[in-house]
């Protein structure tokens, strides 16, 4: 029997992989993709819960998450473009303006 738990564990795995990607990769594009992974994992959990409760609110919430994800991707990619133009790299190790 496939229960809510299965979906949640799957969601956690995907989320963790996303986190690992964000932390370990240097390529800004891959980092953005990892963020997309994390958002999708969250959506999966959200829809799982919604199905469990039979509540459509969770679905509309997931839709908003997608909206945010789209916006995030657009701005993030614009930043990557600008970064590449300015620095000639997409390696986040070389961007250290925040250094204290």
């Amino acid at each position: 029997m496939i229960t809510l738990q299965h979906y949640l564990v799957l969601s956690a795995i995907v989320f963790s992989l996303g986190v690992a990607g964000v932390l370990l990769r240097r390529n800004a594009l891959v980092i953005l993709m990892s963020v997309e992974l994390m958002l999708n994992a969250a959506n999966l959990a959200l829809l799982g819960f919604a199905r469990q409760l039979g509540d459509t609110t969770g679905q509309s919430l997931a839709l908003f998450v997608m909206t945010v994800a789209a916006a995030e991707a657009a701005v993030g990619l614009a930043l990557v473009l600008a970064l590449f133009r300015g620095r000639g790299t997409v390696n986040v190790d070389e961007v250290r303006s925040l250094r204290g």
Binding site: V22, D93, S97, L98
Partner: protein
């Protein structure tokens, strides 16, 4: 309020008006106009004073006028009126102050004729007259204090009148600061009295004293603090050091402020509060003792001084000592009597010295004068008359007042157990000082006017000016006759009777007569004694400075140490400098450089700042600028929180 009462306010206001007009606009006026405003307002004040005092003269001192102008300070239990009081004591003071001021203003029109700051001079001088009149007319101690500090301010301004000379500006500052020290004493004395009586008006204080509100111990404390104020203002030990330096001011100023009027304020104050001093024999004895000591010590310093004005300055200190002896032994009227005669002859002496200095274009060293008798006849004769007066030769004014003081000191004692000795000591010092006074005054006359001229040949001796000579003549005349009004030796008691309504009761409280007090032959013998010492002083001066002019220098060589000790004024200034001023200065630097900068700012303020900065430097390492590192710490934090949660619920 009738007209005579409302006049009181105008007596001080007129000079104030003159001061404001001359001070603000005087530089645009012509010199005669400035002089006219200056002299005119003071002259008017004198006339108003005469008008206002008509009743008091008519009633032989019984009448009194009180004018309450408005409520000045009201707060809590304190209520101070701006009010003026004219009684027989203040009549004498007002007339002496306004009269002498008027003469000196007239004199100044000549003396200061060529000074570029003519208008400023008259403004200051008028301001001084205003303050002095407020002082003597004040009906309560705070109003008196307004005048008291006001004259101190004017003294400061006038001593430093030629401020471009740093030494003169310093002398002014010294005068103000030393006066301030005394003023604090005055303030504390006032506070003590207020605590006991709840009012500072003279009448209330008198009533309170009569009702026994002021305990004897408190009275002594209050009197001693007030006397500290008097020592500052009237240049007594230990605060006399400013007066000799004050000679840096223009000579008419020295005559007016530092001889005739301001410096006598302390004596006036004690006479004004005589009812209070009378119930404190201890304080009175201290006053008498300090007065006697000052009279003697200042006189000895006077012997060696070479500056004509310095000699007169020490002589002033010495004469003020006599007045304090008088008020200390309870002879309040004698103190005021001497105050009045001294105002005339000392003003005359100072103005005479001013005339000499003016004639010699600024020379003040008497060893470089001599033989001026012929060239400056007016000055010489008036100076001589005043010298005879101060030295105590009858029938000049000084003889009567000084003899009165000495006789009262000799013939009285007070309730304090050791007062008998104090009075005798005061008498002894007084008679000794009288001899020395006679000596140094004639030394001054002989060195200045007699003998051969030791003048620098390049100096041309100017003619005497009428505006300067007439006031000299008037003052010399007063120095001759003023003593007669109170010559108790000849049975004339009009002066004492006139003051009796104010100080009589106090005098009776304070004084215990010795058994020979009413023996006229002893009184005559004492008088003869004081004339004798005056002759001794005169004779010595004649011997040393006319007969054999070389002897003084040989004596000075012989008693080298003593001479230097006295010539350098016992090194009192140096003592104050080394043991009071320097330590305070060093301590202040310590407070600033060490306490403020190192301790408070260093440890208290910048210390924590540096600590935080150090922590920040450590924390800065974490800020690699790598966003991923930040994200790592973010997730590490989440992991830590989860771990904690797991441990807390016992999952792991």
């Amino acid at each position: 309020m009738d007209i005579k009462t409302s006049i009181l306010l105008w007596i001080p206001l007129l000079p104030l008006f003159g001061a404001i007009v001359n001070g603000l606009f005087g530089r645009h006026f012509s010199r005669p106009l400035v002089s006219a405003i200056g002299c005119g307002t003071v002259g008017m004040a004198f006339v108003l004073g005469l008008v206002a005092s008509a009743d008091i003269f008519a009633s032989n001192g019984e009448a009194r006028l009180v004018q309450s102008v408005y409520a000045w300070i009201t707060a809590g239990n304190i209520s101070i009126q701006l009010s003026f009081l004219l009684d027989s004591l203040s009549v004498i003071m007002v007339l002496v102050v306004a009269g002498v001021s008027f003469l000196i203003h007239v004199y100044s029109t000549g003396y200061m004729r060529d000074d570029p700051s003519h208008a400023r001079y008259f403004a200051y001088l008028n301001l001084f007259v205003f303050s002095m009149l407020v002082l003597v007319l004040g009906d309560n101690l705070p109003v008196l204090f307004v005048g008291w500090e006001g004259v101190g301010l004017c003294s400061y301004l006038l001593i430093g009148f030629w401020f471009e000379d740093p030494a003169k500006a310093s002398a002014g500052k010294k005068a103000f600061i030393v006066n301030r020290i005394g003023d604090l004493g005055f303030l504390i004395g006032m506070f003590l009295l207020f605590g006991a009586v709840g009012s500072l008006s003279i009448d209330d204080l008198r009533a309170g004293t009569a009702q026994g509100l002021i305990a004897p111990g408190l009275a002594t404390a209050a009197c001693l603090f007030l006397f500290l104020g008097a020592t500052g203002k009237s240049a007594q030990i230990p605060l006399y050091v400013w007066l000799p330096d004050a000679m840096a001011g223009p000579t008419p100023v020295s005559a007016l402020i530092h001889a005739a009027t301001m410096v006598t304020a302390g004596v006036y104050m004690i006479a004004r509060l005589s009812f209070l001093f009378a119930i404190s024999p201890t304080a009175s004895a201290v006053v008498a003792l300090v007065g006697g000591l000052t009279a003697l010590i200042a006189a000895t310093i006077g012997i060696t001084q070479k500056d004509i004005k310095k000699v007169l300055a020490y002589s002033t200190v010495s004469q003020l000592g006599y007045m304090f002896v008088a008020v200390g032994v309870g002879a309040y009227f004698a103190g005021i009597f001497h105050l009045m005669t001294h105002a005339f002859f000392k003003a005359c002496l100072f103005l005479g010295s001013g005339a000499v200095i003016h004639a010699l274009s600024g020379v003040q060293d008497i060893t470089k004068m001599g033989g001026l008798r012929k060239k400056l006849p007016w000055t010489y004769w008036t100076f001589l008359i005043s010298t005879l007066a101060i030295a105590g030769f009858p029938p000049f004014a000084g003889f009567f007042s000084k003899d009165e003081i000495l006789w009262k000191a000799l013939s009285s004692t007070s309730h304090a157990p050791w007062a008998s000795w104090v009075h005798l000591a005061a008498y002894g010092m007084g008679i000794l000082a009288a001899a020395i006074t006679s000596f140094y005054m004639f030394r001054l006359v002989f060195l200045t006017f007699h003998g051969k001229s030791r003048l620098d040949p390049s100096i041309h001796v100017h003619h005497e000016m009428k505006s300067m000579s007439y006031p000299l003549a008037v003052l010399a005349g007063l120095a001759t006759v003023a003593g007669w009004v109170g010559a108790s030796l000849f049975g004339i008691h009009s002066f004492a009777d006139f003051l009796d309504p104010v100080v009589g009761a106090a005098q009776k409280t304070a004084v215990v007569m010795r058994d020979f007090a009413h023996n006229h032959s002893i009184e005559w013998a004492a008088a003869v004694g004081s004339v004798a010492v005056a002759f001794i002083g005169l004779g010595l001066a004649w011997l040393l400075y006319i007969k054999s002019p070389d002897t003084p220098w040989r004596l000075a060589e012989r008693f080298r140490f003593t001479y230097r000790l006295v010539f350098n004024k016992y090194w009192v200034d140096e003592f104050y400098e080394a043991f009071i001023i320097r330590p305070i200065h060093a301590f202040s630097v310590f407070l600033w450089r060490i306490v403020d900068v190192v301790i408070i700012d260093g440890f208290g303020v910048n210390g924590p700042a540096r600590l935080l900065k150090g922590i920040g430097h450590v924390g800065r390492r974490l800020q690699s600028g790598n966003v991923q590192a930040y994200a790592f710490w973010l997730f590490a934090g989440v992991a830590g929180a989860l771990l904690y949660l797991a441990l807390a619920v016992g999952v792991i």
